[in-house]
Protein backbone atom coordinates (compact mmCIF):
# COMPACT_ATOMS: atom_id res chain seq x y z
CA UNK A 1 0.00 0.00 0.00
CA UNK A 2 1.44 3.28 -1.13
CA UNK A 3 -0.70 5.83 0.68
CA UNK A 4 -1.85 5.25 4.27
CA UNK A 5 -5.47 4.16 4.70
CA UNK A 6 -8.25 6.50 5.72
CA UNK A 7 -8.64 6.04 9.47
CA UNK A 8 -10.85 9.07 10.05
CA UNK A 9 -14.20 7.30 10.04
CA UNK A 10 -15.48 5.09 12.85
CA UNK A 11 -17.95 3.47 10.48
CA UNK A 12 -15.26 2.59 7.95
CA UNK A 13 -12.98 1.30 10.69
CA UNK A 14 -15.58 -1.40 11.49
CA UNK A 15 -15.42 -3.02 8.06
CA UNK A 16 -13.40 -6.17 7.46
CA UNK A 17 -11.08 -4.31 5.05
CA UNK A 18 -11.38 -0.65 6.00
CA UNK A 19 -8.45 0.24 3.75
CA UNK A 20 -10.74 -0.32 0.72
CA UNK A 21 -12.94 2.70 1.37
CA UNK A 22 -12.17 6.40 1.74
CA UNK A 23 -14.35 9.30 2.80
CA UNK A 24 -14.86 12.40 0.68
CA UNK A 25 -13.09 14.49 3.31
CA UNK A 26 -10.07 12.17 3.32
CA UNK A 27 -9.88 12.37 -0.46
CA UNK A 28 -10.20 16.15 -0.42
CA UNK A 29 -7.29 16.24 2.04
CA UNK A 30 -5.14 13.87 -0.03
CA UNK A 31 -5.74 14.98 -3.61
CA UNK A 32 -2.20 16.02 -4.33
CA UNK A 33 -0.57 13.09 -2.56
CA UNK A 34 2.22 11.49 -4.60
CA UNK A 35 1.43 7.88 -5.39
CA UNK A 36 -2.33 8.48 -5.40
CA UNK A 37 -4.39 8.60 -8.60
CA UNK A 38 -8.11 9.35 -8.58
CA UNK A 39 -10.16 7.65 -11.28
CA UNK A 40 -13.69 8.58 -12.35
CA UNK A 41 -15.84 5.85 -13.93
CA UNK A 42 -19.35 6.77 -15.00
CA UNK A 43 -22.29 5.35 -16.82
CA UNK A 44 -22.37 8.45 -19.01
CA UNK A 45 -19.26 8.64 -21.17
CA UNK A 46 -19.29 12.47 -21.16
CA UNK A 47 -20.07 13.17 -17.54
CA UNK A 48 -16.41 13.40 -16.53
CA UNK A 49 -15.89 16.11 -19.14
CA UNK A 50 -18.65 18.26 -17.60
CA UNK A 51 -16.64 18.45 -14.37
CA UNK A 52 -14.58 16.07 -12.25
CA UNK A 53 -12.59 15.99 -9.04
CA UNK A 54 -9.41 18.03 -9.59
CA UNK A 55 -6.64 15.85 -10.96
CA UNK A 56 -8.90 12.84 -11.56
CA UNK A 57 -8.45 10.76 -14.72
CA UNK A 58 -11.25 8.99 -16.52
CA UNK A 59 -11.62 5.28 -17.19
CA UNK A 60 -14.72 4.38 -19.16
CA UNK A 61 -16.17 0.95 -18.40
CA UNK A 62 -17.15 0.36 -21.98
CA UNK A 63 -14.62 2.01 -24.26
CA UNK A 64 -11.58 1.44 -22.00
CA UNK A 65 -12.17 -1.76 -20.03
CA UNK A 66 -14.11 -3.89 -22.52
CA UNK A 67 -12.51 -5.53 -25.49
CA UNK A 68 -14.03 -3.97 -28.61
CA UNK A 69 -14.62 -7.30 -30.32
CA UNK A 70 -14.95 -10.17 -27.86
CA UNK A 71 -17.37 -9.82 -24.95
CA UNK A 72 -14.60 -9.76 -22.40
CA UNK A 73 -12.25 -7.37 -20.70
CA UNK A 74 -9.12 -6.05 -22.35
CA UNK A 75 -6.04 -8.23 -22.15
CA UNK A 76 -2.95 -7.60 -20.04
CA UNK A 77 -1.17 -5.61 -22.73
CA UNK A 78 -4.05 -3.23 -23.31
CA UNK A 79 -4.68 -2.93 -19.60
CA UNK A 80 -1.04 -2.03 -19.03
CA UNK A 81 -1.21 0.57 -21.78
CA UNK A 82 -4.43 2.03 -20.35
CA UNK A 83 -3.25 2.32 -16.75
CA UNK A 84 0.22 3.53 -17.75
CA UNK A 85 -1.37 6.27 -19.86
CA UNK A 86 -3.33 7.41 -16.79
CA UNK A 87 -0.18 7.74 -14.70
CA UNK A 88 -0.90 4.58 -12.71
CA UNK A 89 1.96 2.25 -11.80
CA UNK A 90 1.56 -1.16 -10.20
CA UNK A 91 2.22 0.48 -6.80
CA UNK A 92 -0.15 3.40 -7.20
CA UNK A 93 -2.98 3.85 -4.74
CA UNK A 94 -6.06 4.18 -6.92
CA UNK A 95 -9.27 5.74 -5.59
CA UNK A 96 -12.27 5.21 -7.87
CA UNK A 97 -15.52 7.16 -7.81
CA UNK A 98 -18.40 7.64 -10.20
CA UNK A 99 -22.04 8.39 -10.92
CA UNK A 100 -25.12 6.30 -10.22
CA UNK A 101 -24.04 5.49 -6.67
CA UNK A 102 -20.66 4.13 -7.77
CA UNK A 103 -21.94 1.25 -9.94
CA UNK A 104 -19.29 1.75 -12.59
CA UNK A 105 -16.68 2.79 -10.06
CA UNK A 106 -17.16 -0.53 -8.29
CA UNK A 107 -17.04 -2.26 -11.66
CA UNK A 108 -13.75 -0.57 -12.51
CA UNK A 109 -12.38 -1.47 -9.08
CA UNK A 110 -13.39 -5.07 -9.68
CA UNK A 111 -11.72 -5.16 -13.12
CA UNK A 112 -8.54 -3.66 -11.64
CA UNK A 113 -8.72 -6.42 -9.03
CA UNK A 114 -8.95 -9.09 -11.75
CA UNK A 115 -5.55 -7.84 -12.86
CA UNK A 116 -4.34 -8.00 -9.29
CA UNK A 117 -3.90 -4.26 -8.78
CA UNK A 118 -3.35 -4.33 -5.07
CA UNK A 119 -4.29 -0.96 -3.70
CA UNK A 120 -7.56 0.14 -5.25
CA UNK A 121 -10.16 1.87 -3.11
CA UNK A 122 -13.65 3.23 -3.52
CA UNK A 123 -14.74 6.76 -2.66
CA UNK A 124 -17.65 6.15 -0.29
CA UNK A 125 -20.72 7.95 -1.64
CA UNK A 126 -19.16 8.53 -5.04
CA UNK A 127 -19.57 11.50 -7.31
CA UNK A 128 -23.05 12.23 -5.96
CA UNK A 129 -21.90 12.78 -2.39
CA UNK A 130 -18.85 14.79 -3.44
CA UNK A 131 -21.13 17.19 -5.35
CA UNK A 132 -23.83 17.23 -2.67
CA UNK A 133 -21.21 18.37 -0.19
CA UNK A 134 -20.31 21.26 -2.48
CA UNK A 135 -16.77 20.06 -3.02
CA UNK A 136 -14.57 21.37 -5.79
CA UNK A 137 -15.11 20.12 -9.33
CA UNK A 138 -13.19 21.26 -12.36
CA UNK A 139 -13.28 20.98 -16.13
CA UNK A 140 -9.51 21.51 -16.29
CA UNK A 141 -8.05 18.67 -18.29
CA UNK A 142 -5.89 16.26 -16.31
CA UNK A 143 -2.71 15.49 -18.23
CA UNK A 144 -1.03 12.60 -16.47
CA UNK A 145 2.56 11.74 -17.26
CA UNK A 146 2.61 8.32 -18.85
CA UNK A 147 4.31 5.66 -16.74
CA UNK A 148 5.14 1.99 -17.11
CA UNK A 149 2.52 -0.48 -15.98
CA UNK A 150 3.59 -4.12 -16.24
CA UNK A 151 1.76 -6.55 -18.49
CA UNK A 152 0.03 -8.94 -16.11
CA UNK A 153 -2.34 -11.79 -16.80
CA UNK A 154 -5.90 -11.35 -15.67
CA UNK A 155 -7.03 -13.85 -13.04
CA UNK A 156 -10.48 -14.94 -14.15
CA UNK A 157 -10.92 -17.62 -11.50
CA UNK A 158 -10.80 -15.94 -8.09
CA UNK A 159 -13.14 -12.96 -8.38
CA UNK A 160 -14.95 -13.69 -11.62
CA UNK A 161 -17.50 -16.37 -12.49
CA UNK A 162 -18.50 -17.54 -15.96
CA UNK A 163 -21.77 -19.18 -16.90
CA UNK A 164 -20.45 -22.70 -16.40
CA UNK A 165 -19.01 -21.71 -13.03
CA UNK A 166 -22.49 -20.59 -12.02
CA UNK A 167 -23.99 -23.90 -13.14
CA UNK A 168 -21.38 -25.75 -11.10
CA UNK A 169 -22.02 -23.41 -8.17
CA UNK A 170 -25.78 -24.10 -7.93
CA UNK A 171 -26.58 -25.13 -4.39
CA UNK A 172 -24.29 -22.43 -3.00
CA UNK A 173 -25.44 -18.89 -2.31
CA UNK A 174 -26.28 -16.65 -5.26
CA UNK A 175 -27.23 -13.01 -4.81
CA UNK A 176 -29.32 -11.41 -7.54
CA UNK A 177 -29.08 -7.68 -7.00
CA UNK A 178 -31.52 -6.57 -9.71
CA UNK A 179 -34.84 -4.87 -9.03
CA UNK A 180 -37.68 -7.12 -7.77
CA UNK A 181 -39.47 -7.02 -11.14
CA UNK A 182 -36.36 -8.10 -13.01
CA UNK A 183 -35.91 -10.89 -10.48
CA UNK A 184 -39.44 -12.23 -10.67
CA UNK A 185 -39.44 -12.13 -14.44
CA UNK A 186 -41.84 -9.27 -15.18
CA UNK A 187 -39.06 -7.28 -16.80
CA UNK A 188 -36.02 -8.22 -18.87
CA UNK A 189 -34.18 -5.09 -17.81
CA UNK A 190 -34.15 -2.35 -15.20
CA UNK A 191 -37.25 -0.18 -15.01
CA UNK A 192 -36.70 2.71 -17.44
CA UNK A 193 -33.59 1.11 -18.92
CA UNK A 194 -33.13 -0.29 -22.40
CA UNK A 195 -33.66 -3.99 -22.95
CA UNK A 196 -30.24 -5.24 -23.81
CA UNK A 197 -31.69 -8.24 -25.46
CA UNK A 198 -32.47 -10.99 -22.97
CA UNK A 199 -34.82 -13.54 -24.50
CA UNK A 200 -35.97 -14.99 -21.20
CA UNK A 201 -36.83 -13.34 -17.89
CA UNK A 202 -36.63 -14.52 -14.29
CA UNK A 203 -33.68 -15.48 -12.13
CA UNK A 204 -31.11 -18.21 -11.61
CA UNK A 205 -32.62 -20.99 -9.45
CA UNK A 206 -32.08 -20.45 -5.70
CA UNK A 207 -30.72 -16.92 -6.16
CA UNK A 208 -31.88 -14.54 -3.45
CA UNK A 209 -32.95 -11.05 -4.41
CA UNK A 210 -31.29 -8.15 -2.62
CA UNK A 211 -31.41 -5.03 -4.82
CA UNK A 212 -28.03 -3.28 -4.87
CA UNK A 213 -29.31 -0.09 -3.19
CA UNK A 214 -30.15 -2.07 -0.06
CA UNK A 215 -26.44 -1.79 0.76
CA UNK A 216 -26.34 2.00 0.85
CA UNK A 217 -27.70 4.77 3.03
CA UNK A 218 -29.55 7.76 1.62
CA UNK A 219 -26.38 9.71 0.93
CA UNK A 220 -25.00 6.83 -1.15
CA UNK A 221 -22.42 5.69 1.39
CA UNK A 222 -22.37 2.04 2.40
CA UNK A 223 -24.42 1.07 5.42
CA UNK A 224 -22.55 0.28 8.63
CA UNK A 225 -21.13 -3.17 9.16
CA UNK A 226 -23.87 -4.22 11.63
CA UNK A 227 -26.50 -3.08 9.12
CA UNK A 228 -24.83 -4.96 6.28
CA UNK A 229 -24.55 -8.06 8.44
CA UNK A 230 -28.26 -7.86 9.18
CA UNK A 231 -28.97 -7.73 5.45
CA UNK A 232 -26.56 -10.32 4.09
CA UNK A 233 -25.53 -12.44 7.05
CA UNK A 234 -27.34 -13.63 10.18
CA UNK A 235 -30.84 -12.24 10.31
CA UNK A 236 -30.82 -11.71 6.54
CA UNK A 237 -29.51 -13.90 3.75
CA UNK A 238 -27.50 -15.93 6.21
CA UNK A 239 -24.25 -15.81 4.26
CA UNK A 240 -21.36 -17.23 6.26
CA UNK A 241 -17.78 -16.03 6.21
CA UNK A 242 -16.60 -19.24 4.57
CA UNK A 243 -19.41 -19.49 2.01
CA UNK A 244 -18.67 -19.38 -1.68
CA UNK A 245 -20.95 -16.67 -3.09
CA UNK A 246 -21.72 -15.39 -6.60
CA UNK A 247 -23.33 -12.04 -7.33
CA UNK A 248 -24.95 -11.09 -10.61
CA UNK A 249 -27.19 -8.47 -12.18
CA UNK A 250 -27.72 -7.49 -15.82
CA UNK A 251 -24.20 -6.95 -17.12
CA UNK A 252 -22.26 -7.09 -13.88
CA UNK A 253 -22.03 -3.46 -12.83
CA UNK A 254 -24.58 -3.19 -10.02
CA UNK A 255 -23.44 -6.58 -8.76
CA UNK A 256 -19.86 -5.24 -8.54
CA UNK A 257 -21.21 -2.79 -5.99
CA UNK A 258 -22.65 -5.63 -3.86
CA UNK A 259 -19.60 -7.81 -4.56
CA UNK A 260 -17.52 -5.02 -3.00
CA UNK A 261 -19.71 -4.94 0.12
CA UNK A 262 -19.60 -8.72 0.60
CA UNK A 263 -15.90 -9.11 -0.13
CA UNK A 264 -14.30 -6.04 1.36
CA UNK A 265 -16.76 -4.68 3.91
CA UNK A 266 -18.05 -7.97 5.35
CA UNK A 267 -14.90 -9.92 4.62
CA UNK A 268 -16.51 -12.92 2.91
CA UNK A 269 -13.42 -14.23 1.23
CA UNK A 270 -14.83 -16.23 -1.67
CA UNK A 271 -17.16 -13.92 -3.56
CA UNK A 272 -17.21 -13.91 -7.34
CA UNK A 273 -19.05 -11.59 -9.69
CA UNK A 274 -20.79 -13.14 -12.70
CA UNK A 275 -20.35 -10.40 -15.30
CA UNK A 276 -22.18 -12.34 -17.99
CA UNK A 277 -25.17 -11.89 -15.71
CA UNK A 278 -28.72 -11.82 -17.02
CA UNK A 279 -27.81 -10.67 -20.53
CA UNK A 280 -26.00 -13.99 -20.87
CA UNK A 281 -28.10 -16.28 -18.67
CA UNK A 282 -31.38 -15.02 -20.13
CA UNK A 283 -30.13 -15.90 -23.60
CA UNK A 284 -28.39 -19.20 -22.88
CA UNK A 285 -29.93 -22.36 -24.25
CA UNK A 286 -31.21 -24.83 -21.65
CA UNK A 287 -30.00 -23.14 -18.49
CA UNK A 288 -32.54 -23.42 -15.67
CA UNK A 289 -34.62 -20.34 -14.84
CA UNK A 290 -37.10 -19.63 -12.07
CA UNK A 291 -39.94 -17.11 -12.32
CA UNK A 292 -41.68 -15.38 -9.46
CA UNK A 293 -40.71 -13.87 -6.16
CA UNK A 294 -39.40 -17.10 -4.59
CA UNK A 295 -35.80 -18.30 -5.08
CA UNK A 296 -37.09 -21.64 -6.38
CA UNK A 297 -35.69 -25.13 -6.23
CA UNK A 298 -32.46 -26.57 -7.51
CA UNK A 299 -32.96 -28.21 -10.88
CA UNK A 300 -33.11 -32.00 -10.56
Amino acid sequence: MNVAADTTSDRIAQYAHPERLVTTQWLADHLATPGLVVVESDEDVLLYETGHIPGAVKIDWHTDLNDPDVRDYVDGARFAQLLGSKGITRDTTVVVYGDKGNWWAAYTLWVLSLFGHEDVRLLDGGRGLWIAEGRVMTTDATRPTAVEYPVVDRDDTTLRAFRDDVLAHLGNPLVDIRSPREYNGELAHMPDYPNEGALRTGHIPTARNVPWATAVAEDGTYRSRPELEAIYQSGGLGLKDDDSVITYCRIGERSSHTWFALKHLLGIERVRNYDGSWTEWGNSVRVPIVKGDEPGELPG
Binding site: E43, D44, V45, L46, L47, T50, H62, T63, Y193, P194
Partner: protein, 149 residues
Protein backbone atom coordinates in the same frame (compact mmCIF):
# COMPACT_ATOMS: atom_id res chain seq x y z
CA UNK B 1 -16.75 8.15 -46.61
CA UNK B 2 -18.68 11.27 -45.68
CA UNK B 3 -18.99 12.25 -49.34
CA UNK B 4 -20.66 8.99 -50.25
CA UNK B 5 -23.34 9.61 -47.71
CA UNK B 6 -23.78 13.36 -47.98
CA UNK B 7 -26.65 13.12 -50.42
CA UNK B 8 -28.85 10.90 -48.32
CA UNK B 9 -29.69 13.30 -45.49
CA UNK B 10 -30.83 16.93 -45.32
CA UNK B 11 -28.16 19.59 -45.26
CA UNK B 12 -27.93 20.19 -41.52
CA UNK B 13 -27.63 16.50 -40.70
CA UNK B 14 -24.99 16.16 -43.44
CA UNK B 15 -23.01 19.08 -42.01
CA UNK B 16 -23.21 17.72 -38.47
CA UNK B 17 -21.93 14.38 -39.71
CA UNK B 18 -19.10 15.97 -41.66
CA UNK B 19 -18.15 18.01 -38.58
CA UNK B 20 -17.87 14.87 -36.48
CA UNK B 21 -16.05 12.80 -39.07
CA UNK B 22 -13.28 15.33 -39.64
CA UNK B 23 -12.33 15.25 -35.94
CA UNK B 24 -10.16 12.85 -33.98
CA UNK B 25 -11.98 10.38 -31.71
CA UNK B 26 -11.24 12.46 -28.61
CA UNK B 27 -12.46 15.66 -30.25
CA UNK B 28 -15.65 13.97 -31.43
CA UNK B 29 -16.50 13.43 -27.78
CA UNK B 30 -15.89 17.11 -27.09
CA UNK B 31 -18.11 18.12 -29.99
CA UNK B 32 -20.85 15.93 -28.53
CA UNK B 33 -20.28 17.72 -25.22
CA UNK B 34 -20.76 21.08 -27.00
CA UNK B 35 -24.02 19.82 -28.44
CA UNK B 36 -25.14 18.72 -24.98
CA UNK B 37 -24.77 22.28 -23.75
CA UNK B 38 -26.88 23.61 -26.59
CA UNK B 39 -29.97 21.49 -26.11
CA UNK B 40 -32.76 24.07 -26.27
CA UNK B 41 -34.92 24.59 -23.21
CA UNK B 42 -38.41 23.16 -23.43
CA UNK B 43 -41.16 25.61 -24.33
CA UNK B 44 -43.29 26.51 -21.32
CA UNK B 45 -46.25 24.32 -22.31
CA UNK B 46 -44.01 21.23 -22.18
CA UNK B 47 -41.93 22.35 -19.23
CA UNK B 48 -45.09 22.72 -17.15
CA UNK B 49 -46.61 19.48 -18.44
CA UNK B 50 -43.78 16.96 -18.90
CA UNK B 51 -46.32 14.12 -19.36
CA UNK B 52 -46.85 15.44 -22.89
CA UNK B 53 -43.36 14.20 -23.68
CA UNK B 54 -42.62 10.54 -24.30
CA UNK B 55 -39.99 8.63 -22.36
CA UNK B 56 -37.27 7.30 -24.65
CA UNK B 57 -36.91 3.78 -23.28
CA UNK B 58 -33.81 3.04 -25.34
CA UNK B 59 -31.80 5.65 -23.44
CA UNK B 60 -30.18 4.86 -20.13
CA UNK B 61 -30.84 8.38 -18.92
CA UNK B 62 -34.35 9.66 -18.22
CA UNK B 63 -34.79 11.50 -21.49
CA UNK B 64 -38.18 12.64 -22.70
CA UNK B 65 -38.98 13.89 -26.16
CA UNK B 66 -41.84 14.80 -28.39
CA UNK B 67 -42.15 15.69 -32.03
CA UNK B 68 -44.91 17.88 -33.43
CA UNK B 69 -45.95 18.45 -37.01
CA UNK B 70 -47.43 21.93 -37.48
CA UNK B 71 -50.14 22.96 -39.94
CA UNK B 72 -47.57 23.72 -42.61
CA UNK B 73 -46.20 20.19 -42.31
CA UNK B 74 -43.01 21.32 -40.54
CA UNK B 75 -41.60 19.20 -37.75
CA UNK B 76 -40.71 20.55 -34.31
CA UNK B 77 -38.68 18.42 -31.92
CA UNK B 78 -38.63 18.96 -28.15
CA UNK B 79 -36.51 17.04 -25.68
CA UNK B 80 -35.32 17.24 -22.12
CA UNK B 81 -32.63 15.27 -20.32
CA UNK B 82 -30.90 15.99 -17.01
CA UNK B 83 -27.47 17.62 -16.82
CA UNK B 84 -26.06 14.37 -15.37
CA UNK B 85 -26.75 12.75 -18.73
CA UNK B 86 -24.65 14.84 -21.13
CA UNK B 87 -24.32 12.09 -23.72
CA UNK B 88 -28.07 11.80 -24.02
CA UNK B 89 -28.42 15.58 -24.07
CA UNK B 90 -25.88 15.67 -26.88
CA UNK B 91 -27.82 13.11 -28.90
CA UNK B 92 -31.03 15.07 -28.41
CA UNK B 93 -29.33 18.33 -29.37
CA UNK B 94 -28.03 16.81 -32.61
CA UNK B 95 -31.57 15.76 -33.48
CA UNK B 96 -32.98 19.14 -32.44
CA UNK B 97 -30.56 20.97 -34.71
CA UNK B 98 -30.88 18.56 -37.61
CA UNK B 99 -34.65 18.31 -37.51
CA UNK B 100 -35.27 22.06 -37.28
CA UNK B 101 -37.31 23.24 -40.26
CA UNK B 102 -37.61 19.85 -41.94
CA UNK B 103 -40.89 18.73 -43.44
CA UNK B 104 -42.61 15.62 -42.20
CA UNK B 105 -41.67 13.84 -45.44
CA UNK B 106 -38.00 14.73 -45.01
CA UNK B 107 -38.05 13.39 -41.45
CA UNK B 108 -39.67 10.13 -42.51
CA UNK B 109 -37.03 9.75 -45.21
CA UNK B 110 -34.15 10.04 -42.73
CA UNK B 111 -32.11 6.85 -42.65
CA UNK B 112 -32.62 4.95 -39.39
CA UNK B 113 -28.91 4.32 -39.12
CA UNK B 114 -27.95 8.01 -39.15
CA UNK B 115 -26.70 7.93 -35.51
CA UNK B 116 -24.27 5.16 -36.42
CA UNK B 117 -22.75 7.18 -39.27
CA UNK B 118 -21.41 9.97 -37.04
CA UNK B 119 -18.18 8.15 -36.28
CA UNK B 120 -19.04 7.92 -32.58
CA UNK B 121 -19.08 4.15 -32.23
CA UNK B 122 -15.53 3.98 -30.92
CA UNK B 123 -15.68 7.05 -28.67
CA UNK B 124 -19.16 6.50 -27.27
CA UNK B 125 -19.88 2.81 -27.94
CA UNK B 126 -22.59 1.07 -29.92
CA UNK B 127 -24.64 0.41 -26.82
CA UNK B 128 -24.98 4.08 -26.01
CA UNK B 129 -25.65 5.08 -29.61
CA UNK B 130 -28.75 2.91 -29.47
CA UNK B 131 -30.24 5.63 -27.30
CA UNK B 132 -29.99 8.15 -30.10
CA UNK B 133 -31.30 5.61 -32.53
CA UNK B 134 -34.29 5.08 -30.24
CA UNK B 135 -34.96 8.81 -30.19
CA UNK B 136 -34.93 8.98 -33.97
CA UNK B 137 -37.21 5.96 -34.32
CA UNK B 138 -39.69 7.46 -31.89
CA UNK B 139 -39.55 10.81 -33.66
CA UNK B 140 -40.46 9.20 -36.95
CA UNK B 141 -43.26 7.21 -35.35
CA UNK B 142 -44.71 10.34 -33.77
CA UNK B 143 -44.60 12.14 -37.11
CA UNK B 144 -46.30 9.19 -38.80
CA UNK B 145 -49.03 9.12 -36.15
CA UNK B 146 -49.74 12.80 -36.54
CA UNK B 147 -49.88 12.62 -40.32
CA UNK B 148 -52.43 9.84 -39.97
CA UNK B 149 -54.80 11.88 -37.82
Amino acid sequence: MADDRSVDVPETFARIRADFLELSQADRLLLLLEFSRELPELPERFASAPELLERVEECQAPVRAFTEVDEAGIVHFYASAPPEAPTTRGFAAILAEGLAGLTAEQVLALPDDYPFTLGLTEAVSLLRLRGMSGMLTRTKRQVREQLAT
